[in-house]
Assembly symmetry: C2
Homo-oligomer: 221 residues x 2
């Protein structure tokens, strides 16, 4: 294997390690709420430090690779997209910590009734993160497209949770603080899904050279 | 001027153009709410298309520059940071559109009483965006540090607005929908401020080679 290919492999593996850690943090951030388990919350905060270190290492790997190998065309795009994905993953880690902050506040209070579970939403988001990274490593635009489909499902779940919480607050003002926490947790999960969608769009762009990053029309009715 | 310096200049200017457009969109997104002006809202949506085009152009500029000039050390970091800032700016544009969506919903309803104005928060956020870009172009870490200070002020304003809205919803359930909209607008402004902070931290890292990106401790008390 050429040194260049080895370096590309190292970069891919580092991003996958970071992705697994981020997916685990998303999982635990929601479990801390659903299972009322503070240990999970503390693990998420601890793992954020590791995620932050990985971000710096991956930027270094990518820039060293560009400087040493001067990759061209598709390979250059791969490295640039790696830098972008790296940024997205680190931000997802921040969001998981943000969920934990609200979760720790919420789990000292009685639970609120909801028909949509955060677990369902978190599982979907977690799989989007892993799939988008998988699509990157395999340079597979088909796989990346499945992530875009899941994003719509996540938006629907977020809207459902928000509407339920609004109804609840109107009926019973004593639920306001907790309901706002739940709304913000749903928003943060949605933000993570948005990052995974960005990754998927970057992968499609990278492989096809076609830009789908700005495909969605805004409906401002 | 060497061709290389010219290319670096072109890259800086493109990022500044994008930054001005993003700052203007932030301004207009909040004005559309405060002045109940739908025209501003539609301009924000229109300008997002231009911001998205600029993102693609800037990525192209940066990768062409790396491929052609193989910059080293400080110059390479400058170009990599340009790619990261580009991503941040595009996300800020998304957030401005997000504010507009809530604003269009909110401005058809009676205003809610608040002591903190969105205008104050938006002015602060807008200046963070412009200052962080200025710090990048001038490679000035001192200037970048002022952005980090403003970020704390933005967080305080966001907390104030959230607390006011929570109190309001508890007192008067008929305000719930609008109050949730206001909370989400404040969150989106805060997210923009977070992006500007990321830019500033990248600039400090770029110039000093010191990583301040992960300086903040999470308080999960």
């Amino acid at each position: 294997m050429r040194r260049f290919d080895e370096e590309l492999n190292t970069l891919s593996e580092a991003l996958q390690e970071m992705g697994s850690l981020v997916a685990q943090s998303i999982h635990r951030s929601v479990l801390s709420l659903v299972e009322k388990n503070e240990d999970y919350a503390h693990q998420v905060v601890r793992d954020e430090a590791r995620i932050n270190q990985l971000e710096i290492q991956i930027d270094d790997l990518a820039t060293t690779l560009i400087a040493r190998e001067s990759p061209v065309a598709g390979d250059m795009r791969f490295v640039v997209v790696a830098i972008k994905i790296n940024t997205d993953l680190e931000r997802m880690g921040d969001m998981a910590v943000g969920i934990v902050e609200r979760s720790l506040a919420a789990l000292r209070q009685p639970e609120l009734p909801m028909n949509v579970s955060f677990t369902e939403m978190a599982n979907l988001v977690e799989s989007m993160v892993l799939t988008s990274l998988d699509a990157f490593v395999k340079r597979d635009p088909q796989l990346a497209r499945t992530v875009l489909t899941s994003d719509d499902a996540v938006d629907k779940l977020r809207n459902l949770i928000t509407r339920q919480m609004i109804e609840l607050m109107k009926r019973d003002p004593s639920t306001v603080e907790r309901a706002v926490d739940y709304i913000l947790i749903a928003r943060r999960l949605e933000r993570i899904a948005d990052h995974a969608t960005n990754v998927a769009e970057d992968v499609i762009f990278m492989v096809k050279g076609v830009d789908v990053r700005h495909r969605t029309q805004v409906d401002i009715g």
